[in-house]
Symmetry: C2
Subunit: 315 residues, 2 copies
């Protein structure tokens, strides 16, 4: 569930645009007003504001925001203003441009979105970057990562809940054998993780646990520093419980020496309207501190206010 | 362009359904009437007839056709009645169930459809088979074929006409090197053929030709009996000129000892409303015989009449 709070009576997109224009004009920018408006509008309403602003002032509001805002606040607002598929396309592209094997944005986007959402991302990627997502993944990655990520971003998983129990059993066994042989980049592991439906994979992971006495991810921790194992574990965690996965990304982003604003912004802007409520609950259970308090401690200024507004806790 | 002839004034789908019902009833089936109606309706009109028939008689017209018709005629009419994405999904599934490395239906569908059409096929595959297409491809194929076909059916190629000339040059060189080393299943060959846009690939193949003095497909004929080389050549032919590719499929289907009705039916039912006119023209140029005459010589009865109607030549 969403953490966004939207006023009962929302001004027209033209009125919102006018207020935002005022916030940009004159001496200094009125960041508070920008947050008060944009952090309390749905994706569809923000899209209408973008259109209305362009019509009224002949300028893309994203360009105006870019001019007026700075640093982490700017980055967060700009991401927030994009349509969800376009935002994911931008995040995927950024991850590829500065590709490192420890980056998990690409995995996160490919696995936690629905099949149709992910297809919309690929379509948005065409429109914005004039190339296909899989094309860029193939060019920027190599070795086992390429073998894993190209099918991962290209897959269109079946989303029915049907499960083939004997298939789950045989594929759990297959996964166990390959992992046991430390053959992590094996094509059967990749085939299973990238093509099977999430319902089928959950059954396979359960079977693995039942049959071999511990979760599959425990066996994938043989070398905690190995980025490829980390990638496999991330895929599995995103399938088993995306909310827990996101809680952990936020936790690590906050607990780091020096906050990881890149991860914090990514998760909050992409999840606020989806399942941020559950992520917050899990965060509280896991850390005994409300996420709001953790964010207040770790961030400052307009960036802090904006994130808090998105997770439902206005300053 | 389509070869379908649709009457200026088309009866309502209910009237068509009533006529078809009459064609099914009584002593023997009136195949002529079935052809006179169904071979002269567009995909959208056939869909309306399916809906109207189900509403009027509480039965799927496909079931009725299955009961009334036989052999190649039945197969052709049933394929023809499916919505194009569902038809392609069925053809892909059939190709996989009786998978042989010489089968080219899967390649043909993946490469000659537009990116959005191919995505619609994947969606139809979910609905009909409760699995993803790439999942079935991965299960039914192995080795180099799996490495090639999984990304091929999963790709969502960029369709803009922009071409990067220096990229075309470097990838033409890369292709030449790998082919020269007879390393045909090399991951770079597969990456280039499965992810690059068709416009970019055309530039790359032109560059290959200019740089190395002959078309890339000539170098892929080293062993004419090798099915993997045949698959690579088919992909390239489908990219360079799908109409020429289809002409050859028809030519071989007709020239075989014993007509290859599977291929003939597939190409005519899937291409009649798309580019059959161009395919017929190329056929005539290449064989000095009109396609109609070749089909008349090679097929008989209702099957013959139906194919002729689809290619615009009623008996």
């Amino acid at each position: 569930m969403s953490t966004l709070s939207i006023p009962v009576s929302v001004p027209s997109p033209y009125d919102d645009s006018e207020q935002l224009r005022k916030a940009f004009e004159g001496w200094g920018t009125n960041e508070g007003l920008i947050i008060a408006i944009l952090a309390h509008r749905s994706a569809a309403q923000r899209r209408q504001i973008r259109d209305a602003y362009a019509q009224a002032y002949g300028e893309d509001i994203l360009k105006a925001l870019e001019k007026e805002l700075t640093r982490h606040f700017e980055k967060a607002v700009l991401l927030w203003m994009l349509d969800p598929p376009e935002r994911d396309a931008v995040l995927a592209n950024e991850a590829l441009k500065k590709w490192s094997s420890g980056n998990r944005a690409l995995i996160e986007i490919s696995v936690t979105r629905t099949s149709d959402e992910m297809f919309a991302v690929r379509r948005a990627y065409h429109a914005r970057f004039k190339r296909s997502l899989e094309e860029d993944v193939a060019v920027h990655t190599s070795g086992d990562f390429r073998k894993l990520l190209v099918p991962l971003v290209s897959s269109y998983r079946y989303e029915g809940l049907e499960v083939n129990a004997s298939l789950a059993k045989s594929e759990a066994k297959m996964l166990h054998e390959k992992i046991n042989d430390k053959d992590y980049g094996n094509e059967e592991i990749i085939r299973i993780l990238t093509t099977r439906s999430k319902a089928q994979l959950l059954a396979t992971f359960n079977d693995y646990n039942n049959e071999f006495g511990h979760p599959i991810n425990k066996d994938l921790k043989a070398d905690p520093k190995d980025d490829f194992l980390f990638a496999l574990r991330s895929i599995i965690r995103c399938i088993i419980c995306p909310e827990k996965y996101f809680e952990k990304v936020i936790r690590l982003a906050i607990n780091k020496m020096g906050t990881d604003e890149y991860a914090l912004t990514r998760v909050i802007t992409t999840r606020a309207e989806v399942n941020m409520k559950q992520i917050k609950e899990i965060y509280y259970k896991r850390n005994s501190v409300p996420l709001e308090r953790a964010i207040k401690k770790d961030t400052t200024g307009d960036y802090e206010d904006f994130l808090l507004a998105l997770i439902g806790e206005d300053a």
